[in-house]
Symmetry: C2
Subunit: 195 residues, 2 copies
DNA sequence: ATATTATGTAAGTAAGCACTTACTTACATT
DNA sequence: AATGTAAGTAAGTGCTTACTTACATAATAT
């Protein structure tokens, strides 16, 4: 049944993401899923194929794109807070996938799997957003710099929390950090330079 | 000779960090080092032992600790810029090690290898620094929050650049980002909240 | 000159890997 | 009662892995 298939996918995701592709054996996966190794191969033609299915069954960033297309208010504080919230959830839910991505991005066997389409789309949409904020006079620095600043701050936090699993970073700090970043973006750098 | 040994270590570092521990074979390493597999085992008692040696031969953070102990001027702008520069160099030089760390931190075979002592020391020293800045009235937010903000911004950048190898992040942006972060730290959050 | 040292080559071992084959059990459908 | 489906078990294939043994060779040290 579909149930068995799903159990295999879940176990595979868990193991691939913690141990990496090469270190995870089909026996491991079968054991964790509570089924026999043969059943695994009846459902998936190869380990590699299972990996692909496991990867592609996970990453869903529609929420993000939907938000950009429908829910923007152009109140920068509200928009960026919401956005950071989406990213938080996305990373939280997909931490395993992200780890998998980092662990195996240099492996020849795996390299072609990707999520760059989504990545590019989000980048384009957010560049448009920051450009608009710039045109409206809300921010004075270069829009691309601001986009980078916002995303790499958020990303830095999420990376530490969900991939390196540093336990001392909570949502309190996250919210404070996002707020501080937004304030920084709204502040003109040229006025505060070298004084 | 010592030369052969070093060639093996270099090749091992290169391969472990790009492919991960499990996916790297001793044959690979020997090939890359230009020596025979047997010679590898004459120099290192096992693959695991070679891994340990390769890891421990790399990470040197004395510069950082020296800086904290000798070169602080308590001009926050200068100090944090210098500090971010040190981190930049450290990550640049040790990108492979960092990747290795991330790739294999969940592997049972590997987990005990560590660099947490250095990490804790730097954290303690920088907390003292930010506390002092707070006492001097240079910053008004909680010192620990400020330390986190500074480090996770810098870390987010370095992670993207050296571990994920995003090519669009240059030193221009890095310097701008550091400056913006320092400005943000010097700005009191409570004054700019929800207005 | 000769012993020692650092390497190489060639061959092999035991284990583990992804994956297969052949056959079985259990339950549901016709 | 006959057939189909989804699973299991047990054994085995061929390949790769970490690691070993035995012997040869060239340079270096005594």
């Amino acid at each position: 049944m579909n149930d068995t298939r799903q159990k295999i996918i879940d176990a595979a995701k868990e193991l691939f993401s913690t141990k990496g592709y090469a270190a995870t054996t089909t026996k491991d996966i079968a054991g964790k899923a509570g089924i026999s190794e043969v059943t695994l191969f009846r459902h998936f033609e190869s380990k590699r194929n299972l990996f692909m299915v496991a990867v592609h069954s996970t990453f869903e960033a529609d929420i993000l794109i939907n938000f950009f297309e429908k829910d923007l208010t152009y109140d920068i504080e509200r928009d960026l807070k919401k956005l950071s919230g989406f990213f938080y959830t996305l990373y939280k839910d997909n931490a395993k996938l992200m780890k998998m991505h980092i662990k195996d991005k240099d492996s020849e066997e795996i390299s072609e799997f990707s999520k760059p389409k989504v990545e590019m789309k989000v980048r384009t949409l957010s560049d448009e957003y920051f450009q608009k904020m710039h045109d409206m006079g809300v921010i004075s620095d270069e829009p691309i710099m601001c986009r980078k600043y916002f995303f790499s701050n958020v990303f830095g936090f999420l990376m530490r929390k969900f991939i390196l699993e540093k336990t001392d970073d909570g949502t309190d700090y996250f919210n404070w950090m996002v707020e501080k970043t937004i304030t920084a973006i709204k502040t003109d750098s040229s006025k505060t330079q070298k004084g």
